[in-house]
Amino acid sequence: MLKIENLHARVEGKEILKGLTLSVKPGEVHAIMGPNGAGKSTLGNVLAGRDGYEVTAGSVSYGGVDLLALEPEERAAAGVFLALQYPVEIPGVNNTYFLRAALNAQRRHRGEPELDSMKFLKLVREKLKIMQISDELLHRAVNEGFSGGEKKRNEIFQMAVLEPSLAILDETDSGLDIDALKQVAEGVNALRSSERSFLVVTHYQRLLDYIVPDFVHVLADGRIVESGDRSLAQRLEQQGYAWLAEHGEPAGAAT
């Protein structure tokens, strides 16, 4: 389980996360909403261990381990997966090759045997049932020339293959057409289990009609300022974030 306490983080000397507290139990789906620039992607990057994000206070433990002390690749091997808001194009690196290298690196790290190419292809075929992407995309360079939607599907496909225990989806729904949105949501739902938790960052309550969250949080100005069930998302959809201001103290401050 993930336990974030009073997390403060800086980017380029600027404080972005200002005392963020959040707990996620195994099997739970937490949606995180909030205005542009609030720090949602920053939270994802801090959890995944990206360079340049300096944690100045607070703690993050995952499965009892100090997550912040681990390198990004160690976090991945420990089960953390971040689907990026803007997936990166990597010319010259074949998508399938990359995914196999990633899976085998994680398996090595966990002391599990590596998958040979036969076994890996079998796994890929199986996972394509969860998240369909074309053969052509599988064999192209990672995300190179992929459309926005194809990149997002590729992220979910990677997630299906890597089987993380904590998946952070940063606006995976942005830029998807209705059908793709449903497919992505179905993919996520197929991967829901009592051992796997999700942090779903989104601007649209529509996604939450398909991926039904256990909790909804509002992240504003670097803190969780409001938490509730999915009705909170509907309320935000109707009223925007303005009403939060009148709403008093941030929720994070109370804990």
């Binding site: 390198e71 990004p72 690749e73 976090r75 990597i90 290298a101 690196a105 994680q106 890597l162």
Partner: protein, 440 residues
């Protein structure tokens, strides 16, 4: 008064066997020219980034062609390259290591020896080369060219006769064997692809000893009308080796030269690659990469001269420098008056993997013709941090992620090499040059 280097070259000249009197005269003249000018300094534009001051203070011993050498032929085995082979060890031709039996029809492949010891045919070959040279560079002050003309005792002669189509690649091996003292040798090669002929050649420089050595080579390449030469240069010299190469290419009408160069080894490496697209419709494709570590210094000087209409050149070069290595690349394209409709493209991208590494790149473009298409670009950068994070966030450890991205960066250089077995092997060699451990 003269430097240890020059003195040692003079001493080497004393050991040259007597030759044809024209050659002897020519050699003396060249030696004279070399002594007069000495080694170039960094004040010379072409040597701006490559200092020879350390080399100047060193001396080298001439190779004794009769001294026994122990080498293992497995050193130069290459997948996909098992045809005819010519092997030189320390600049000395080794028949027992070569494979010259059952040469395909249309291929002439042989060494030339010192003419006094040689059969009539090789004497003529060598004289022909010298005459050509005298014509071309009458008053050149190129130190290493002069040295080569003065002191070369061997080299490869390769002729692909008119309309011959050779399927098996030809392997030219220039090895430096482990030695107890610093040796120097000079070789002179001639590759001629006659009209309508096709061939593929691997020029392979390698060494694996601890000792330093100097290998100085001059290669003359000529592709006649409608001929095609595919040349792959694999440079894996010993860590302390000094390797100086000058490659002079002449392309006739509708001739094609496709060149792939991998610079992996050596301590101090300089390659001057000059190409003249002299016949209408001639085409030159060059692909090259250097991948450097430690204190390696590799300097490539590419000069492409479009001299005839509708000639095309396309050059793709990549450079990677790690640790304290230094890479230099100059890509100069000149489109002469009258070479209308020429198409010249050059891309040179470089990657610095450490803060102590350095790469200097200098593209140059001169156009004096009409309707010319020219694209020219050079960049120096670091690994993309976003891509690195992306790979790591999926579980790939930092060192592996760096290796993966670096290999991807170099991929463009090998992807159009048709010999698949060789391509795979070269791509593995590139990956293996990368440091296994992280030193960010």
């Amino acid at each position: 008064m003269s430097s240890p280097f020059v003195q040692s070259m003079l001493a080497a000249a004393e050991t040259m066997p007597p030759a044809h009197k024209l050659l002897d005269a020519q050699r003396r003249e060249r030696l004279q020219a070399f002594v007069e000018h000495g080694l170039p300094t960094t004040r010379r534009e072409a040597w701006k980034y490559t200092s020879l001051r350390a080399l100047e203070q060193r001396s080298f011993v001439a190779v004794d062609p009769d001294a026994p050498v122990e080498v293992d032929a497995a050193q130069w085995a290459l997948p996909g390259v098992d045809g005819p082979r010519l092997v030189f060890v320390d600049g000395v031709f080794r028949a027992e290591l070569s494979r010259l039996d059952a040469l395909p029809a249309g291929l002439r492949l042989q060494p030339f020896a010192a003419p006094a010891e040689a059969k009539q045919a090789t004497q003529d070959d060598m004289l022909a080369i010298y005459r050509q040279e005298i014509r071309r560079t009458r008053d050149a002050d190129h130190a290493f060219t002069n040295l080569d003309l003065a002191l070369a005792r061997s080299g490869a002669i390769l002729v692909v006769e008119q309309d011959a189509v050779l399927t098996q690649p030809i392997h030219l091996v220039f090895a430096g064997a482990p030695a107890s003292q610093a040796l120097a040798w000079h070789t002179r090669n001639m590759l001629l692809v006659e009209s309508g002929a096709r061939a593929s050649v691997v020029e392979h420089h390698l060494g694996w000893g601890e000792q330093s050595y100097l290998s100085n080579a001059f290669s003359d390449i000529q592709v006649d009308r409608g001929g095609t030469l595919e040349l792959i240069v694999l440079q894996q010299s010993a860590a302390k080796a000094t390797l100086i190469r000058h490659t002079d290419c002449h392309l006739g009408a509708a001739a094609t030269l496709r060149l792939h160069v991998l610079e992996l080894g050596g301590g101090l490496v300089r390659h001057d690659l000059h190409a003249r697209l002299a016949g209408e419709g001639a085409r030159l494709d060059t692909r090259g990469v250097f991948m450097l570590r430690e204190r390696q210094h590799v300097d490539t000087q590419l000069a492409i001269h479009h001299q005839a209409p509708n000639t095309a050149s396309d050059s793709v070069w990549r450079g990677v420098a790690d640790e304290r290595a230094r890479g230099v690349f100059r890509g100069a394209i000149k489109v002469a008056e009258g070479a209308d409709g020429a198409d010249a493209a050059l891309s040179n991208k470089n990657l610095l993997l450490s803060a102590q590494a350095e790469i200097d790149t200098k593209p140059e473009l001169e156009i004096y013709a009409d309707e010319v298409k020219a694209a020219h670009g050079a960049t120096i950068g670091q690994l993309d941090e976003r891509a690195l994070f992306y790979l790591r966030s999926r579980g790939i450890p930092l060192a592996e992620a760096r290796a993966l991205l670096t290999a991807a960066f170099c991929r463009a250089v090998l992807q159009d090499l048709p010999n698949e077995a060789l391509r795979e092997h070269l791509s593995t060699l590139l990956s293996e040059r990368l440091p296994a451990d992280e030193a960010a």
